[in-house]
Symmetry: C2
Subunit: 123 residues, 2 copies
Protein backbone atom coordinates (compact mmCIF):
# COMPACT_ATOMS: atom_id res chain seq x y z
CA UNK A 1 0.00 0.00 0.00
CA UNK A 2 1.46 3.27 -1.10
CA UNK A 3 -0.56 5.40 1.30
CA UNK A 4 -1.09 4.63 4.95
CA UNK A 5 -4.55 3.98 6.31
CA UNK A 6 -4.76 7.23 8.23
CA UNK A 7 -4.21 9.15 5.01
CA UNK A 8 -6.86 7.08 3.29
CA UNK A 9 -9.33 7.73 6.09
CA UNK A 10 -8.77 11.47 6.04
CA UNK A 11 -8.92 11.56 2.26
CA UNK A 12 -12.11 9.52 2.25
CA UNK A 13 -13.77 11.88 4.71
CA UNK A 14 -12.62 14.97 2.82
CA UNK A 15 -15.47 14.57 0.34
CA UNK A 16 -18.92 15.87 1.40
CA UNK A 17 -20.73 13.12 -0.50
CA UNK A 18 -18.71 10.46 1.26
CA UNK A 19 -19.28 12.10 4.64
CA UNK A 20 -22.98 12.06 3.84
CA UNK A 21 -22.76 8.37 3.01
CA UNK A 22 -21.07 7.78 6.35
CA UNK A 23 -23.77 9.78 8.11
CA UNK A 24 -26.50 7.73 6.50
CA UNK A 25 -24.75 4.45 7.16
CA UNK A 26 -24.42 5.44 10.80
CA UNK A 27 -28.19 5.14 11.11
CA UNK A 28 -28.41 1.82 9.33
CA UNK A 29 -26.88 -0.50 6.75
CA UNK A 30 -27.91 0.10 3.15
CA UNK A 31 -27.31 -1.30 -0.29
CA UNK A 32 -25.35 0.58 -2.93
CA UNK A 33 -28.53 1.33 -4.82
CA UNK A 34 -30.29 2.71 -1.79
CA UNK A 35 -27.30 4.84 -0.98
CA UNK A 36 -27.04 6.15 -4.53
CA UNK A 37 -30.69 7.07 -4.80
CA UNK A 38 -30.73 10.55 -3.20
CA UNK A 39 -27.80 11.88 -5.21
CA UNK A 40 -28.09 13.09 -8.76
CA UNK A 41 -24.87 11.45 -9.83
CA UNK A 42 -24.68 8.03 -11.43
CA UNK A 43 -24.79 4.81 -9.45
CA UNK A 44 -21.28 4.10 -10.67
CA UNK A 45 -20.01 7.30 -9.11
CA UNK A 46 -21.55 6.38 -5.75
CA UNK A 47 -20.17 2.88 -6.08
CA UNK A 48 -16.74 4.44 -6.47
CA UNK A 49 -17.27 6.59 -3.39
CA UNK A 50 -18.22 3.52 -1.41
CA UNK A 51 -15.12 1.78 -2.68
CA UNK A 52 -13.00 4.66 -1.38
CA UNK A 53 -14.66 4.30 2.02
CA UNK A 54 -14.10 0.55 1.86
CA UNK A 55 -10.42 0.97 1.00
CA UNK A 56 -10.11 3.24 4.02
CA UNK A 57 -11.63 0.52 6.18
CA UNK A 58 -14.62 2.68 7.06
CA UNK A 59 -17.15 0.49 5.25
CA UNK A 60 -17.50 -3.24 4.72
CA UNK A 61 -19.76 -4.97 2.24
CA UNK A 62 -21.79 -8.11 2.71
CA UNK A 63 -23.18 -10.10 -0.18
CA UNK A 64 -26.95 -10.31 -0.23
CA UNK A 65 -28.07 -11.88 -3.52
CA UNK A 66 -27.16 -9.31 -6.18
CA UNK A 67 -27.09 -6.58 -3.58
CA UNK A 68 -24.18 -5.40 -1.51
CA UNK A 69 -25.14 -4.43 2.00
CA UNK A 70 -22.84 -1.66 3.17
CA UNK A 71 -21.94 -1.43 6.83
CA UNK A 72 -20.15 1.35 8.68
CA UNK A 73 -17.10 0.21 10.64
CA UNK A 74 -17.22 2.91 13.27
CA UNK A 75 -14.24 1.62 15.22
CA UNK A 76 -11.93 2.93 12.51
CA UNK A 77 -12.82 6.42 13.63
CA UNK A 78 -10.67 5.74 16.66
CA UNK A 79 -7.57 6.06 14.54
CA UNK A 80 -8.57 9.59 13.66
CA UNK A 81 -9.57 10.73 17.10
CA UNK A 82 -6.46 9.16 18.61
CA UNK A 83 -4.24 11.02 16.20
CA UNK A 84 -6.02 14.32 16.65
CA UNK A 85 -6.25 14.18 20.41
CA UNK A 86 -2.57 13.49 20.72
CA UNK A 87 -1.55 16.70 19.05
CA UNK A 88 -4.45 18.75 20.31
CA UNK A 89 -3.51 17.80 23.85
CA UNK A 90 0.14 18.49 23.18
CA UNK A 91 -0.64 21.92 21.82
CA UNK A 92 -3.01 22.55 24.66
CA UNK A 93 -0.41 21.70 27.27
CA UNK A 94 2.03 23.98 25.53
CA UNK A 95 -0.56 26.70 25.73
CA UNK A 96 -1.00 26.21 29.43
CA UNK A 97 2.71 26.27 30.06
CA UNK A 98 3.05 29.40 28.01
CA UNK A 99 0.62 31.73 29.64
CA UNK A 100 -2.37 31.68 31.93
CA UNK A 101 -4.06 34.28 29.78
CA UNK A 102 -3.86 31.95 26.84
CA UNK A 103 -5.36 29.18 28.90
CA UNK A 104 -8.50 31.24 29.19
CA UNK A 105 -8.75 31.57 25.44
CA UNK A 106 -9.20 27.84 25.07
CA UNK A 107 -12.54 28.01 26.82
CA UNK A 108 -13.96 30.71 24.55
CA UNK A 109 -14.37 28.66 21.44
CA UNK A 110 -15.31 30.64 18.36
CA UNK A 111 -13.22 33.74 18.87
CA UNK A 112 -10.00 33.52 16.92
CA UNK A 113 -6.97 33.95 19.14
CA UNK A 114 -4.79 36.95 18.34
CA UNK A 115 -1.40 36.08 17.02
CA UNK A 116 0.49 38.55 19.13
CA UNK A 117 -0.03 36.52 22.24
CA UNK A 118 1.83 33.55 20.91
CA UNK A 119 5.21 35.19 21.16
CA UNK A 120 8.28 33.30 22.16
CA UNK A 121 7.86 30.01 20.42
CA UNK A 122 8.86 27.05 22.50
CA UNK A 123 11.59 26.05 20.11
Amino acid sequence: MAVDQLSRIFAALADPTRRDLVARLASGDSTVGELADPYDVSVQAVSKHIQVLTDAGLVTKRKDAQRRACHLEAEVFEMVTTWIERYRDEAQQRYERLDAVLAEMQHTEGSPPPLQQQQGAAS
Copy 2:
Protein backbone atom coordinates in the same frame (compact mmCIF):
# COMPACT_ATOMS: atom_id res chain seq x y z
CA MET B 1 -14.33 26.36 -4.98
CA ALA B 2 -17.18 26.23 -2.52
CA VAL B 3 -15.74 23.57 -0.27
CA ASP B 4 -16.73 23.69 3.36
CA GLN B 5 -14.15 23.97 6.10
CA LEU B 6 -14.62 20.42 7.32
CA SER B 7 -13.70 19.14 3.86
CA ARG B 8 -10.65 21.38 3.81
CA ILE B 9 -9.57 20.14 7.23
CA PHE B 10 -9.90 16.48 6.27
CA ALA B 11 -8.17 17.08 2.95
CA ALA B 12 -5.36 18.96 4.66
CA LEU B 13 -4.79 16.12 7.12
CA ALA B 14 -4.91 13.48 4.39
CA ASP B 15 -1.29 14.21 3.46
CA PRO B 16 1.44 12.63 5.62
CA THR B 17 3.77 15.58 5.20
CA ARG B 18 1.09 17.96 6.38
CA ARG B 19 0.25 15.72 9.33
CA ASP B 20 3.93 15.77 10.21
CA LEU B 21 3.91 19.55 10.02
CA VAL B 22 0.96 19.59 12.39
CA ALA B 23 2.74 17.20 14.72
CA ARG B 24 5.80 19.41 14.82
CA LEU B 25 3.78 22.58 15.26
CA ALA B 26 1.99 20.98 18.17
CA SER B 27 5.23 21.08 20.11
CA GLY B 28 6.01 24.66 19.24
CA ASP B 29 5.67 27.45 16.69
CA SER B 30 8.16 27.47 13.83
CA THR B 31 9.05 29.47 10.76
CA VAL B 32 8.45 28.17 7.28
CA GLY B 33 12.17 27.66 6.79
CA GLU B 34 12.53 25.67 9.98
CA LEU B 35 9.55 23.55 9.02
CA ALA B 36 10.85 22.94 5.51
CA ASP B 37 14.33 21.92 6.65
CA PRO B 38 13.83 18.20 7.44
CA TYR B 39 12.06 17.37 4.19
CA ASP B 40 13.86 16.82 0.94
CA VAL B 41 11.34 18.74 -1.08
CA SER B 42 11.69 22.38 -1.99
CA VAL B 43 10.82 25.20 0.39
CA GLN B 44 8.12 26.24 -2.05
CA ALA B 45 6.46 22.85 -1.75
CA VAL B 46 6.42 23.10 2.04
CA SER B 47 5.14 26.65 1.78
CA LYS B 48 2.25 25.31 -0.27
CA HIS B 49 1.56 22.62 2.32
CA ILE B 50 1.45 25.27 5.02
CA GLN B 51 -0.89 27.32 2.89
CA VAL B 52 -3.24 24.33 2.66
CA LEU B 53 -3.17 24.03 6.44
CA THR B 54 -3.77 27.76 6.72
CA ASP B 55 -6.74 27.64 4.34
CA ALA B 56 -8.20 24.89 6.50
CA GLY B 57 -7.82 27.12 9.55
CA LEU B 58 -5.39 24.73 11.20
CA VAL B 59 -2.42 27.10 11.04
CA THR B 60 -2.02 30.83 11.37
CA LYS B 61 1.01 32.89 10.42
CA ARG B 62 2.54 35.82 12.25
CA LYS B 63 4.91 38.24 10.60
CA ASP B 64 8.34 38.33 12.18
CA ALA B 65 10.69 40.41 10.00
CA GLN B 66 11.12 38.36 6.82
CA ARG B 67 10.07 35.23 8.67
CA ARG B 68 6.60 33.83 9.11
CA ALA B 69 6.00 32.21 12.45
CA CYS B 70 3.52 29.38 11.99
CA HIS B 71 1.18 28.49 14.81
CA LEU B 72 -1.13 25.52 15.20
CA GLU B 73 -4.76 26.39 15.90
CA ALA B 74 -5.64 23.27 17.81
CA GLU B 75 -9.23 24.33 18.50
CA VAL B 76 -10.11 23.61 14.87
CA PHE B 77 -9.62 19.94 15.64
CA GLU B 78 -12.87 20.14 17.56
CA MET B 79 -14.78 20.34 14.31
CA VAL B 80 -13.37 16.98 13.30
CA THR B 81 -13.86 15.21 16.59
CA THR B 82 -17.38 16.60 16.91
CA TRP B 83 -18.30 15.29 13.48
CA ILE B 84 -16.74 11.91 14.06
CA GLU B 85 -18.12 11.34 17.50
CA ARG B 86 -21.63 12.10 16.36
CA TYR B 87 -21.69 9.27 13.87
CA ARG B 88 -19.54 6.92 15.84
CA ASP B 89 -21.94 7.20 18.75
CA GLU B 90 -24.91 6.81 16.47
CA ALA B 91 -23.45 3.67 14.93
CA GLN B 92 -22.51 2.36 18.34
CA GLN B 93 -26.05 2.73 19.61
CA ARG B 94 -27.38 1.06 16.50
CA TYR B 95 -24.93 -1.75 17.02
CA GLU B 96 -26.26 -2.31 20.48
CA ARG B 97 -29.82 -2.33 19.20
CA LEU B 98 -28.81 -4.74 16.47
CA ASP B 99 -27.31 -7.01 19.04
CA ALA B 100 -30.66 -7.19 20.72
CA VAL B 101 -32.39 -7.91 17.43
CA LEU B 102 -29.94 -10.65 16.55
CA ALA B 103 -30.26 -12.17 19.97
CA GLU B 104 -33.98 -12.38 19.49
CA MET B 105 -33.59 -13.83 16.02
CA GLN B 106 -31.54 -16.73 17.27
CA HIS B 107 -34.82 -18.46 17.90
CA THR B 108 -35.49 -18.61 14.17
CA GLU B 109 -31.98 -19.59 13.13
CA GLY B 110 -31.38 -20.42 9.46
CA SER B 111 -31.91 -17.29 7.42
CA PRO B 112 -29.45 -14.37 7.29
CA PRO B 113 -30.77 -11.17 8.80
CA PRO B 114 -32.53 -8.98 6.27
CA LEU B 115 -31.30 -5.44 5.99
CA GLN B 116 -34.47 -3.80 7.16
CA GLN B 117 -33.96 -4.93 10.71
CA GLN B 118 -30.77 -2.99 11.07
CA GLN B 119 -32.37 0.36 10.55
CA GLY B 120 -32.50 2.34 13.73
CA ALA B 121 -34.07 5.70 12.92
CA ALA B 122 -34.59 5.48 9.20
CA SER B 123 -38.31 6.16 9.07
